[in-house]
Amino acid sequence: MSEEIRVPIESDADTVIARQAGRDVALRLGFTRTDATFVATAISEIARNITVHAGAGSIVVREVNEDGRTGLAVIAHDEGPGIADVDAVMRQDYRSNAGLGMGIWGAIRLMDEVAINSRPGEGTTVTMKKWCGFDEVAAFLDHGT
């Protein structure tokens, strides 16, 4: 049975719960400790966007199976002000702001897929995926320490 955990995000304490849930699911799915840390870090960034810009929302972490691959999906949703120019965020035009763009920047670097669905006044949904796979650096770190 595939796993799914939903964490309501209302404060920065919930962010810690969400990133630990993400790490736990990743490890249970067979991700390396390094990849599980990538997932936890990306969740922390995206959850901060929720608490700072929308006030509250939720994060769902679940297993995904596509094309014979196993992975993990993180769906972060809020009913906040939304984003006027999603493309600009994805292009990293906002990178230097160290706010919203910084979190998305981190998520893009740490996860395999990141998609943003948002319109002004209609909230924001960020969907991120990471696929379970072999990583030489991660394998060395997991077994070499």
Binding site: S11, T15, Q20, T34, T37, F38, T41, S44, L110, L141
Partner: protein
Amino acid sequence: MAVSILKQGDYLIASVQSALTDTEVIELRDALLAQVAKHRSLAVIVDVAALDIIDSFAARSLTTVARTNRLRGAKTVIVGIQPEVAVAMSQFGLRLDSAHIALDLEAGIQLLTV
């Protein structure tokens, strides 16, 4: 706060005990800056081995501590960054500018005494 700060002669040694919320990261930042000023410390060693992640917020806060201490003539040494946390920071592009880095507490103290 899940952090202990001990005075050891001219140094302060701060040990993070668990994962921290953003609020606790700010408390740590402010406590370190206040304690360094109060004790006229020459250096502060921050052991972050218990941190599950170091994201943009934690990195920015630690950098603020290091930069502020530098302007007051005190060194900041970050020790104990876990290997997978270091890989994630590297992949993200996060740096701890102005801070000295050492593998663990022992290496951090050694770095200050040479």
